[in-house]
């Protein structure tokens, strides 16, 4: 089972998403509501995948992804947002980022597909 760290500041949405992922065969090891919380939990739980919301109250998702690069676990990062992909710039420079999924199309199938691509 893939160990997942879920990062999103919208608590009800995050809880539901965690349930959906667990039902879909993922092991959600921790949930974070802010960028700093995410970095701490990533260090503590060594996840294989970080499902990272782009818009967070403190750091944005890109910054969190950049800082995760020094984490020895080097988890795969999938960025998610309720905004459109084109609302954000390029993030090719981010080594851990495997892709972007809009929240409206975030399903277990889509996530599995994306991870399989890399």
């Amino acid at each position: 089972m893939v160990r997942v760290l879920l990062v999103d500041d919208q608590v009800p949405y995050r809880r539901l998403l965690a349930r959906l992922l667990r039902a879909g065969g993922f092991d959600v090891v921790a949930e974070a509501g802010t960028g700093h919380e995410a970095l701490l939990l990533a260090a503590a739980t060594a996840p294989e995948l970080v499902l990272l919301d782009v818009l967070l109250p403190d750091l944005d998702g890109f910054e969190v992804a950049r800082r995760l690069e020094v984490d020895p676990a080097r988890p795969a990062v999938v960025l998610v947002s309720s905004r459109h992909r084109e609302d954000f710039g390029e993030f090719t420079g981010l080594a851990l980022v495997r892709g972007f999924i809009g929240k409206d199309e975030l399903t277990v199938e889509r996530l599995t597909e994306l991870l399989a691509e890399g």
């Binding site: 949405y13 539901l16 959906l20 309720s82």
Partner: protein, 586 residues
Amino acid sequence: MVGPFALSWASSALSGLVAVVDVVLAATAGRQPALWYVWEIGSPLVWVGVGVLAVVIRPDRRVGLLMQLLGLILLVDAPAGFALSTTRTWAAVDLVVARAAQPFQVVVFAHLLLSYPEGRLRRPLPRAFVAALYAYAAVVGAAAAVTTIRTITGQPWTGTDPVAGFAGGGSSTAINAGWLAFAVVYPVLLGLKVRQASPGRRKTLAYPLTCGFIVITLFALTMVLVVVGSVPAANPLSDALPYLAVLTMPGAFLLGLLRERLRYGSVTDFLRAVEHTPIGRLQPALREALRDPTLRLVFSQDGRYVDEHGEHVPIDNDRAVLPIGGDPPIGLLLHDPALNDEPKLVRAASVATRLALDNARLHAVVRQQLAEARASRRRIVEAAAAERRRLERDLHDGAQQRILAVGIALRLLQQQLDPTDRAVTEALEEAHRELADAISELRELARGIHPAVLTEQGLSAAVRALARRQPLPVAVDDALPHRVPQPVETAAYFVVSEALNNVVKHAHATRARVRLSLRADVLRVEVVDDGIGGAGREVADGNGADTRAGSGLRGLADRVAAFDGTLSIADAAPTGTRLIVELTCD
């Protein structure tokens, strides 16, 4: 009260008449060379002419009338110097009048010089002195008339020879001693006049008073010589004095008046000059206009007076003080007291300064209000932009997240249900589609309020995204080296958005181009299309608000104005419309 011009006319007419009588007398009975008569009648006419000029230059002064009076007296007493052969009675009468008038020529001259340049004696001492002179002249004139009548009637009237002395009184030592007494006192009064005059006034007085002083001194010297008996009453010096006076004095008087007139005339220039003079330049302008290099302009501040730099200025007693504006005055002019002789000039300067100060003050007030209005308009526009950003964020964090959560809940629900139940599966699929549409609509709504891409990536990316969504090809050229302040980005974005909106709706264009460039602190936005054009005319005609495209453009103009920006719309070549907006990024 008879006006100066009427008096001048009357005096001139009378002088002309007397001159005609003099000419007739000289032509019919004169035994002297013609040139003598030309001088005797011509020189008074010079005084008359200069007097008329003086009245024209300064109608508010009596000095011109005094000059004319001097000319008239000289014309009346001219026959006293004539050598005549005649038996006509009117010539004898004329001679009596001439001899009686003769003493007055010195008196009027003295009066003129002492009262110059106003033509009025203000101080009691000169006033009494001149009055005494007139009284003495009347006595001497009466004595001369009696003597002349006695001479004429004592023997058959066949003509006359001139008696000595241009002041009248002939060789009478008593009379000449009287003249001498006056001639000694007179320079003292002139000296006092000069001493009491302010530096500015002394400049006006310098030339006429020097000339007059020399003439009077020579007169006194002659009288001394005559009284002590070393020269006869008829001597070359005393004969030369009237020539000297006529050659030097009228011109001197006129020059002095002209000098003042020039000063007076410059008030008009001053008025013109101060119209847009900043307060700091007013004092030099006033100094120039009033020919007073010592003049100072001071302003009332906290119960004392300061200059334009805020330095304290003490009010000296030797300066004349002219208040500017009402009570209390907004300022004071400290000037040469000589200017007080020019009440009109000083009043004009006061009013002009008041106007200039009011002007400057109003300018400052308007500038300040304009700056405040600009700042508040800018604040309103910025607040509106911030509110849009907040609203977009709220939609994103609120409604959109809830709908997305419902979507996930539906997927969880889907996993619990029997996948073979077609009705349930279809209902769920329908719910998913509805949710996707809702999210899509919500996104569009949020983008219309404030596009997330603008917040996240700035103007270039937002404009590119906007261009991609247009139904016609829109090329984007952007050369922005860095992001500009958020309020400017928002304003520029909506300018492009509204402009493209107009292009799509009204221009019938096949393509459009957006250019963004930053020069110094000015963001330039250019939107060009290849459509039918004409949008510029609608705005320029002022009919823009009535047209469909116009109201949007008006809104653009308002938005742009909040950033001290400019908006121009013109036809593009060969067809289409070019909209250029420049916004200041400060």
